[in-house]
Symmetry: C2
Subunit: 119 residues, 2 copies
DNA sequence: ACATTCCTAACTAATATAGTATACATAATA
DNA sequence: TATTATGTATACTATATTAGTTAGGAATGT
């Protein structure tokens, strides 16, 4: 039940952005340095956050990134889902069809409850 | 954040035991068949549940397994911890020393809250 | 003695994750 | 328009984890 470093790093990066809210744009390079994440890896995992509308970016010289919404409007379960897929502890919670036991499976309710608690 | 099949199978097995509470002993073989888990794999994962006192076993002919406590006294977080280790989404929640950032890490509180919700 | 059942350890294969390498695209500005 | 500073995208590799098998051992009842 561990969360991936991908999601951990992503959330750290967002938090870094939130804390530096005053500046217009933040450089990936600086986040990488402050958060001790390799720049190529950070670039790698920030991409989906940009395409999904969590982060705004401008390229080129004097470019950088910033949050698209106010920090309090960003739900972390959304971020985790973007970075590592559904937070559901088992797949059948999101899609009962993938398991022939779903209909009569008594444990499934449990996992569903767990997903809600995590969210 | 997926749960391992190890833990899923283990919980299914325990539930099977709970539902067949009336019988004295249940055969691993039968659980394996009902739950569609390979017998060697089930034997494999039931072992820690025996040594940790969740399940009682007797070997040999007319042997079998049964729950040591009443079903309602078995907490599933305990079972998950036995089968796949701590339920904490990051290791630093259980042991801050493993990460030099723990002291000033703002995300750590989040993971701690998550662990509590999951439990 | 033998059949039946749980127990243990070692191994293998498959999958997922972390991280790097390489090349490209865009924007500011000299 | 060339240069520089950024972000964007794809493909690859190494490592770790997980799932599952194999093979045999130990205890118990008949």
């Amino acid at each position: 039940m561990k969360i991936s470093t991908r999601a951990r790093y992503g959330i750290r990066a967002l938090l870094d952005l939130a804390l530096n809210d005053d500046k217009e744009r933040i450089l990936l390079k600086d986040i990488a340095q402050r958060q001790e994440i390799s720049l190529p890896y950070l670039e790698h995992l920030i991409t989906p956050l940009i395409t999904k509308g969590i982060v705004r970016s401008t390229r080129g010289s004097r470019g950088g990134i910033s949050l698209r919404r106010r920090p309090e409007e960003i739900r972390l379960n959304e971020v985790v889902e973007i970075l590592e897929g559904s937070i559901a502890p088992v797949e059948c919670v999101d899609d009962p069809k993938i398991c022939p036991r779903s209909e009569f499976c008594v444990t499934r309710d449990l996992w569903d409850e767990m997903k809600r608690a995590m969210n």
